[in-house]
């Protein structure tokens, strides 16, 4: 749509096209996340200036990577649903329920249970089931995922509170925390874990039928259906998969703090969504992938780390986050691709 208001943007895009003609531009376009990499660079630059280099110190970088692991896993989970063109707000609920069940099933100081390593499949199962319900509500009952997952989130969070009776459950099983805080070649193991997950999803998205089909659905559900894509089945399985990954994140949260409580589910959703958007995954679906999720999370976490290092007033931080979110998206979204902006 051409109007005087968007003309500046046209200039921008013409400039884009000019750039893309050049060799640099070719490189820029050959990398799917070049825009995000640049924004990360900017963030790094600003903070390393603001903290006279401390920001880029190895120890800090490792801290950032370590801290980015769990948000990254959550972001990798939720971005799958976003690619479908749907929305998933059940993140906090599912994490809460899995966190609590992990707390109660592992060796702890409240119950007599000790399932040991079995916890991993168990939390993934719980999360997966919850995700499955999301999928069914969306496909079989044809409810908009935004609201159905919101309802699920409330429901599951409530259940988590019920079974934990609200109190926090200290763990007696230290193995998991050991894994979390251990390092491999100086790199936090948990970060490597997240990256591996990212890799798996990347392959899934690009090398398997499921991946191809989920992009097809994100592009245009009806046409995908016409072409014979089993839309419902794919959607349900993606929601399920997402739920499983939430479960994993829930377990890691518990392991990290070596105790468990329903409230560990709080304050996780919006950071994840921010990471998704900053990473350049189109909220209208069909565009972006695991790479975007990874880089997006790193940007967001690095940002928060930098704000602390620079001793920015805690209550300015949400504003800075907001501004960065908006400007990062403003710079990186390709408006020609999303068409109408809603």
């Amino acid at each position: 749509m051409k109007t005087k208001n968007s003309r500046s943007l046209e200039n921008l895009s013409t400039l884009r096209s000019k750039v893309s003609a050049s060799a640099v531009g070719k490189l820029y376009h050959s990398i799917p996340i070049s825009g995000q990499i640049i924004s990360l660079g900017i963030v790094a630059l600003i903070f390393s200036l603001g903290t006279n280099g401390q920001f880029l110190h190895v120890s800090n970088i490792m801290t950032v990577l370590g801290l980015s692991a769990i948000p990254m896993i959550l972001c990798l989970a939720v971005h799958q649903v976003i690619i479908l063109g749907a929305m998933d707000l059940s993140l906090e609920g599912i994490v809460a329920i899995t966190a609590v069940s992990a707390g109660l099933l592992l060796k702890n100081s409240v119950t007599g249970n000790d399932v040991g390593l079995w916890i991993i499949p168990i939390v993934m199962l719980i999360g997966g089931l919850a995700g499955l319900v999301n999928g069914l509500l969306n496909t079989k009952l044809r409810m908009p995922s935004f609201i159905s997952t919101l309802g699920m989130s409330w429901t599951l969070f409530g259940v988590a509170i019920m079974i934990s009776k609200g109190s926090s459950i200290p763990l007696r099983d230290l193995r998991f925390q050991k894994v979390i805080i251990s390092e491999f070649l100086g790199i936090p193991t948990v970060f490597i874990l997240a990256i591996l997950l990212g890799l798996v999803l990347y392959i899934m998205q690009n090398k398997t039928k499921l991946g191809k089909h989920m992009y097809a659905i994100g592009g245009n559900e009806i046409l995908a259906k016409q072409a014979g894509v089993k839309v419902d089945r794919i959607k349900i399985s993606i929601f399920g998969l997402t739920g499983m990954i939430y479960g994993l994140a829930g377990l890691l949260l518990v392991a990290r703090l070596n105790s468990s409580a329903a409230r560990y589910g709080n304050n996780l959703l919006f950071p994840a969504m921010t990471a998704v958007a900053v990473g350049g995954v189109s909220l209208s679906g069909g565009v972006g992938g695991a790479l975007n999720a990874v880089i997006g999370t790193i940007i967001v976490v690095a940002l928060n780390n930098g704000l602390v290092l620079m001793q920015i007033n805690p209550y300015m931080q949400s504003a800075v986050n907001g501004i960065v979110l908006i400007s990062a998206v403003a710079l990186t979204i390709d408006r020609n691709k999303i068409g109408i902006i809603k």
């Binding site: 208001n5 908009p144 969070f157 259906k225 209550y315 300015m316 907001g322 979110l325 908006i326």
Partner: protein, 328 residues
């Protein structure tokens, strides 16, 4: 819905099929009546005067936010910053109550409107999806509130009189409820009987066409979000006066609640369908559920789950699928 070839008729669709022809809103109304009956049977005290006043009070506030929210949603967007706006407004009100007296009200409303206008501007001029825009600006508004005051501000007893404009009662009905009615009528008229309202519907159902037909989509979008800001501001003022206080997290819970009530009312999140009347019903459903749970004495641990389940059920029944070929 048949020609798009999405799946075979789901069970829920068949139920609706029997009641076919009824406007989407009737389902939401059905829900409302159903819940009222359940709670009334569940507890004799549900339908008492005192309790109705309680429901009315909370409904009035939620209504104000939702009335704004629905305009954002009608354009096909969403406003996640209503919480931030409410908080900011509440803080401004409490801060200015002493010096300005009554005039603190118009001032704080103006602040909210400005905030909404800002959203609209960013969304339309810089063409950034409203989800991102408002998600970001929400944080910004909260921070501004914090800058104004980190401590929660309480109303000085000297200005209780002013606050009783909202808190007082007329003919045994809380003024805040009358306010709610006025707000509803106002937004209803805006949507149904003004050109802007019509253009917002147009925009929501076909943006390209409305532009080609001379609708200034940038202006209309901006107005829609400004209205959303206005609604949030009204809610913020009402809530702040209700609580005799304002603080930077006051509105947070209203973000998702307002969206939920809009959707329960049967407004499509893709825009162009539904509206203010639907939202009124959605709001009533939410408020009745929230109050009823305490009245019939649902165990405190279970309440949140209960709410979640009821919301899912409500939407499953009331959501109007006929408008949409694809449910996202």
């Amino acid at each position: 819905m048949h020609k798009d070839g999405i799946g075979k008729q789901p069970a829920i669709k068949q139920i609706r099929g029997k009641l076919a022809g009824l406007p989407a809103i009737s389902y939401a109304l059905g829900m409302l009546v159903l819940f009222i009956v359940i709670f009334a049977v569940g507890s004799a005290t549900f339908l008492t005067r005192y309790n109705m006043l309680t429901i009315g009070n909370s409904a009035a506030i939620l209504l104000a936010v939702a009335m704004g929210q629905v305009f954002a949603i009608l354009t096909g967007g969403i406003d996640l910053s209503v919480g931030g706006i409410m908080s900011l407004v509440s803080v401004v009100l409490m801060k200015t109550l002493e010096p300005l007296g009554f005039w603190a009200y118009p001032l704080s409303l103006a602040v909210g409107i400005a905030a909404g206008f800002l959203n609209g501007l960013i969304n339309s001029r810089f063409r950034i999806p409203s989800f991102i825009t408002t998600l970001g600006s929400n944080g910004i508004f909260m921070s501004i509130a914090y800058m104004i005051s980190i401590k929660p501000l309480s109303a000085p007893s000297s200005s209780f009189g002013v606050l009783d404009i909202v808190n007082g009662t007329t003919l045994g009905i809380r003024n805040i409820m009358l306010l709610g009615v006025i707000i509803f009528v106002l937004f209803f008229v805006i949507q149904r009987y003004t050109i802007t309202g019509r253009n917002i519907m147009l925009l929501g159902s076909n943006e390209k066409m409305s532009w080609l037909s001379g609708v200034d989509i940038f202006k209309v979008r901006t107005i829609a979000f400004t209205l959303s800001g206005f609604g949030a501001a009204l809610a913020g003022v009402m809530l702040a006066s209700n609580l005799y206080s304002g603080y930077p997290t006051l509105g947070t819970v209203y973000i998702l609640n307002s969206i939920a009530s809009v959707v329960i009312g049967g407004t499509a999140m893709t825009g162009g369908a539904g509206g203010v009347l639907n939202t009124l019903v959605g709001v009533m459903v939410m408020s009745v559920i929230n109050n009823g749970m305490n009245i019939i004495g649902i165990d405190v641990y279970a309440q949140q789950s209960f709410l979640g389940v009821l919301v899912i059920i409500a939407v499953a029944i009331s959501f109007d699928r006929s408008k949409l070929s694809v449910i996202k």
